[in-house]
Amino acid sequence: MPAEFAVELRDVVKQFVTPEGANLAAVDHVTMQIRNGEFFSMLGSSGCGKTTSLRMIAGFEWPDEGEVIIEGKPMGHTPPYQRNVNMVFQNYALFQHMTVFENVAFGLEMQRAGRKEIITRVGRSLDMVQLKGLDRRRPRQLSGGQQQRVALARALVNLPAVLLLDEPLGALDLKLRKEMQLELKALQQQLGITFIYVTHDQEEALTMSDRIAVMSLGKVRQMGTPQEIYERPSSRFVAEFIGESNFIDGRMVQISKEAAQVHVPALNMELSATPISGDLVAGEDVIVSIRPEKVQITNSINEMPNHMEGTVEKTVYIGSDTHLIIHTGSQNLKVWEQNRVSRIDPHAFYSSGQKIQLVILPENALIMKRE
């Protein structure tokens, strides 16, 4: 019976001794379950323990506490060369003294594959990453993007159960990055291999992943699909880390299972909003988080819930969108509107001081605990 999860981290702790002599928990009681065939991302700012987690899965580090389980087998102190996972390193770590062919063939040689098999499989995987004809080059004679592809081919040729990728696109320029994102995703779907992908680029994580773990200071802050993470961030930290948001202080007035009323002094009104945490009680101090693009600008002054009037403070035209700062109550709100009509006509712009009507749907106003 195949194991339910490709990789499991159970309450894993990894500590390092800093040069100053203090103990630093680079990974602090992390539990993750990564399903077979999943594109799973670890997302977090620098130093939050992403690489360390990945290295523990690969076997370069051993956890101080907890367990790493790959395909149902607890790994313990299994060395890297006995784990059915392969890694694409951030700096690629291509063997400089070998040709592209020899680099890609290395893993197969270690598995003692026959010469013929090596030639066909290396050829196939170089095709897959579109590097046909470069097999006799040395890594130094390749561009960054090509080196990246060699690193990918070198790992994928072994058909591992799990592929670990540590910011593989970090060194590439934006355009190539976007291209490679699509290619990687397509490759993953075609091969059905579980990908564990480390990045600090939120957009990359959102566009590519089936599920994302948002990490900070060695802990997992939230785990879920891109939609869950973006639309239902569980904390102010996550909402701030992924995308932008307006945060307004409020106080719970009344709460039921799905709906809740929050008194927001800064807006001088009661908002109907959606509770995120289950354990909120009436009277509690909370934060309301509203994404800028979820605030609607309307012309009709009909009585809708969460309807308010505001004054345009500032507009910034950024091509696809217009970013507005709107003063309402005693609060400045970030509001993003798509430029669906041509803004070439200056009258189609909002001008400073103009009065406008805003509506926020209750499902887009999220109530979070104050941290």
């Binding site: 060369y81 390193f89 770590a93 291509l94 400089q96 003294h97 270690m110 790992a155």
Partner: protein, 294 residues
């Protein structure tokens, strides 16, 4: 165009440096072609070829080898040939052993953390900066004490007693070469990211295969230049060899020194010339291996 103007002062200074460095060597080489046996002034080249050398009033006027008379003489000199053989034997063995040990030391120092690690770097420099003569005396004292004790304890017979000879010279050459090899390999290791080794292990190579297929080839340029340096150091060494050699283990520098105290024929120069040529080639090879990018 190079943006730096070539200043006459710099040209002059660098010419002087080269002059001081190379003038003695040039003279030395020139005199190895000297027709004069006494070799005090340069009396011109030997221009005639004859089956037998002719000597007239201290001047060699003809020789089977022509201008290369002294080189030919040299090759017929048994003592020189035996000294050359000793020198090479010592150099080859001590180079191989010190390269292996020195490289292993560099790898170990990079990889493992231990309490006394800060002292190891200093202890590598000390044998290099210590006056060679002090090292020589130290090694000699060590050997004579050790051999004395062993000869006593094992009650060795006269012909099997431990004495100074090729073995002691080789051991002492290994000892002074190791720090050089270690320092050079360490320099190479500075730019060596451990992710290369991790990548190899990740792809299924165990520790030994990783060393053989990845670490060693990537360090090879450093190891090679350490090796060549050890080789030239051993070829050149006079002071330590002077203290540790014994009957039958005379090396070229020791032999040359012995010659100097008798007469300086152009044979001495010829020997030096050959030697300079060998060292020169070795240095060129070191340069090449250092410039080689991984």
């Amino acid at each position: 165009m190079n943006p730096y103007r070539r200043s006459p002062a710099i040209i002059l200074a660098s010419s002087l440096v080269y002059l001081f460095l190379y003038a003695p060597i040039f003279v030395l080489i020139l005199y190895s072609f000297n027709a004069s046996r006494t070799n005090i002034i340069f009396a011109g080249f030997i221009t005639n070829f004859e089956p037998r050398p002719t000597l007239q009033a201290g001047l060699v006027t003809a020789s089977p080898c022509g201008p290369f008379h002294w080189f030919c003489e040299l090759s017929h000199n048994r003592e020189v040939m035996s000294a050359a053989r000793n020198t090479l034997t010592i150099a080859v063995i001590s180079t191989i052993v010190s390269t292996v040990i020195g490289t292993m030391a560099a790898l170990a120092l990079q990889r493992y953390e231990f309490k006394l690690k800060p002292f190891t770097q200093v202890s590598l420099y000390i044998p290099i900066v210590i006056p060679e003569i002090v090292m020589g005396i130290g090694i000699l004292t060590l050997f004579s004490q050790l051999f004395g004790v062993l000869n006593e304890a094992l009650k060795l017979q006269a012909d099997s007693r431990l004495t100074l000879g090729l073995g002691t010279v080789i051991v002492s050459h290994i000892a002074f070469s190791i720090p050089f090899v270690t320092l050079i390999v360490q320099a190479r290791l500075q730019g060596f990211d451990k992710s290369f080794e991790e990548a190899a292990m990740d792809l299924g190579a165990n520790e030994w295969t990783t060393f053989r297929r990845v670490t060693f080839p990537m360090l090879l340029p450093g190891i090679l230049s350490g090796c060549l340096l050890a080789f030239t150091l051993s070829l050149d060494d006079f002071v330590i060899t002077f203290f540790t050699n014994g009957p039958g283990s005379t090396t070229l520098p020791i032999y040359l020194y012995g010659l100097l105290r008798r007469i300086i024929t152009p044979q001495v120069n010829a020997l030096s010339t050959v030697w300079i040529a060998i060292v020169f080639v070795a240095v060129l090879l070191i340069q090449q291996s250092q410039n080689r990018k991984v």
